[in-house]
């Protein structure tokens, strides 16, 4: 397996006026791994993710994905290159059915969102159904997304992201607000997918148990800067991390 990082971030900085949300962040994510980014509230995790997906333009620094420079690209371009995010606040299509939502994602991937001359193809329907079967949402296929339970919506959320067949999946606090049962289901889903499809996953999380149980590598952010990164064991043992995050205050 190639050890060339799939995602390479160097000196990434984003300043809003006088406030530096992300300052000189370096990150290297190897393909097929699960990489966690942790840090207290306001550490810059969300801003970092927004920089990666193109919602924000970096003030300076570079983002290389699959060997190509990605910083400053618009979100839909980033998505097409294979970097997809699943959102912290559930971000689905409220009035569309579960099946339709997945179909849209697949159509976009096939560049068929432009097709205005044919009726929806069964081919896309079949693929969509397969995905829904895999994640356990097949029975809800005709339900409007907004009628689903919170946990199901999160699963749909992740499914949409997966439907674009990303090479790297960004998960921003995927288990936020979930019950323990739902959390377990989500964790299994993500790790299963990562292992089964060789998907690279970068996630930000608050739940430390999940982080240390699931991750191959951990990066710790504090006030927009990286204070530590390495294997879960290394990070847990790092005194700076303990002071800033695990033991002390924010």
């Amino acid at each position: 397996m190639s050890t060339q990082p799939l995602l390479e971030v160097r000196g990434l900085t984003k300043a809003f006026g006088g406030f530096t949300a992300v300052g000189g962040v370096d990150l290297a994510v190897r393909p097929g791994t699960i990489h966690s980014v942790i840090g207290p509230n306001g550490a810059g995790k969300t801003t970092l993710f927004r920089l990666l997906t193109g919602v924000h333009r970096p003030t300076s620094g570079s983002i290389r994905f699959g060997g190509r420079e990605l910083s400053g690209a618009r979100p839909y371009v980033v998505s097409r290159r294979g970097l997809t995010q699943s959102f912290q606040i559930t971000n689905v299509f409220p009035k569309m059915t579960v099946l339709e939502s997945v179909q849209v994602a697949i159509l976009a991937r096939h560049h068929r969102s432009w097709d205005f001359v044919s009726a929806r193809q069964d081919k896309v329907t079949v693929e969509a159904m397969e995905m829904l079967d895999e994640v356990g949402l097949a029975q809800a296929m005709d339900a409007q997304a907004q009628t689903l339970s919170h946990g199901d919506q999160r699963v749909l959320e992740v499914t949409l992201a997966l439907a674009t067949r990303p090479r790297l999946l960004l998960l921003d606090e995927p288990t936020a607000g979930m019950s323990p049962a739902e959390t377990g289901r989500m964790v299994d889903l993500v790790t299963g997918l990562a292992r089964a499809r060789g998907l690279t996953v970068v996630l930000s999380e608050h739940d430390m148990d999940i982080v240390f149980c699931v991750s191959d590598e951990v990066t710790v952010l504090h006030r927009g800067r990286v204070i530590c990164h390495g294997s879960p064991a290394e990070v847990q043992a790092d005194p700076q991390v303990a002071e800033v995050y695990l033991g002390g205050g924010e």
């Binding site: 971000n91 409220p94 079967d133």
Partner: protein, 350 residues
């Protein structure tokens, strides 16, 4: 899997539409010329409203300026006759294209702004044209508009005009319908539901909306041509923002989430307007009140209400239910579990 039980997308036409077609076809036999003209007007407005709804209901873009393209369609016919003595059959084809191109130009400018500003910008474009057409009297006939024998003899016969309008509107609506049920249409709806999410899935939102805007301009202009067939004239009021309010009103009244909703709104508007004018001497109050009630209490419009009523009745008489939900109900009844094609029940994933 339930996929097997899904019918392939086919042209299942709802019974209501068939009934409507029959009724409309009987028109010339039963109605007076005046009434015929009314229906003709309504049909043209139906096209205008449905074309506008491609933006509002499907695209989530509130344009307060579709009157601009309606007027462009009408004036292309009128001015081509006035200055070039062009044949109507030629301008019939040219006018929608002009509308589409104009929409493309406006869209390039307007679609980069946020929602609220978009409404104001389209309103401004509409008013701009209104003002220019009024001022440039020598070219456009000014505030009085353009009158004259701009229609070919064939269309001067009320029956012919009626059939022609019906045919053109039907074709226009059919194409619009196809657009809404295509992958493009579904993507458009997704953009309406959640713009950022669509963008994050790889959809170039700006270009999709631009295409929708262009289509809408094209068909609004076609509706403008039908206006000329009905009124044998063109006037600057077609461009004003108050005129642009009508298709929005019809779409909301009839129902913005169903394709023919705005057409229903147009028909209701047309009939109600005459009745109200006779008894109240003015209709704005009623229209405003109805609009208010609908948008606050029944946002999916009359069509939505009818649909809900139908579903309620369907619990008592299952035969009334829409076809797709009957298929789904049958699927659920026949297993209780998802089954694979070879009959083995599928265990729930993890």
């Amino acid at each position: 899997m339930t996929t097997i039980l899904r019918k392939p997308a086919s042209l299942r036409v709802p019974a209501g539409v068939i009934a409507l077609i029959v009724v409309l076809a009987l028109g010339p036999r039963v109605l007076s010329t005046a009434a015929l003209l009314n229906v003709q007007d309504a049909v043209g407005l139906a096209l205008f409203a449905c074309a506008t709804n491609l933006l509002i209901g499907y695209g989530g873009l509130v344009s307060f300026g579709q009157g601009a393209f309606y007027g462009i369609g009408a004036y292309t016919v009128a001015l081509a006759w006035m200055h070039l003595n062009a044949s109507f059959w030629v301008t019939l084809v040219v006018a929608p294209v002009v509308g589409g191109v104009a929409a493309l130009a406006v869209g390039l400018l307007a679609l980069r702004t946020r929602q609220l500003y978009f409404a104001l910008l389209t309103l401004a474009v509409s008013q701009l044209l209104y003002v220019i057409v009024q001022q440039q009297e020598s070219f456009t006939g000014g505030a009085d508009g353009v009158f004259g024998p701009m229609l070919p003899g064939f269309l001067l016969n009320p029956g012919n005009a009626y059939w022609f309008t019906l045919a053109v509107a039907a074709i226009g609506l059919l194409v619009l319908w196809q657009i809404t049920r295509s992958p493009f249409g579904m993507t458009l709806r997704a953009i309406r539901e959640n713009r950022e999410r669509a963008e994050a899935l790889g959809v170039n939102v700006f270009l999709h909306q631009l295409l929708a805007f262009t289509f809408s301009g094209f068909f609004c202009a076609l509706a403008g041509v039908l206006y000329v067939v009905w009124g044998q004239s063109a006037n600057p009021n077609l461009f004003s923002w108050t005129e642009s309010g009508y298709p929005i009103f019809m779409a909301v009244l009839g129902g913005q989430y169903m394709f023919l909703g705005p057409a229903l709104g147009a028909l209701i508007y047309e009939q109600a307007r005459d009745v109200l004018l006779a008894s109240f001497s003015d209709s704005q109050l009623v229209f405003g009140a109805v609009l208010l009630v609908i948008i606050l209490a029944a946002p999916d419009g009359v069509a939505g209400l009818l649909n809900r009523g139908r579903r309620l009745l369907a619990r008592r008489w299952p035969g009334l239910a829409p076809a797709t939900s009957r298929a789904a109900a049958a699927a659920r009844a026949s297993g209780g579990q998802d089954t694979k094609p070879d009959g083995r029940p599928e265990t729930a994933v993890r």
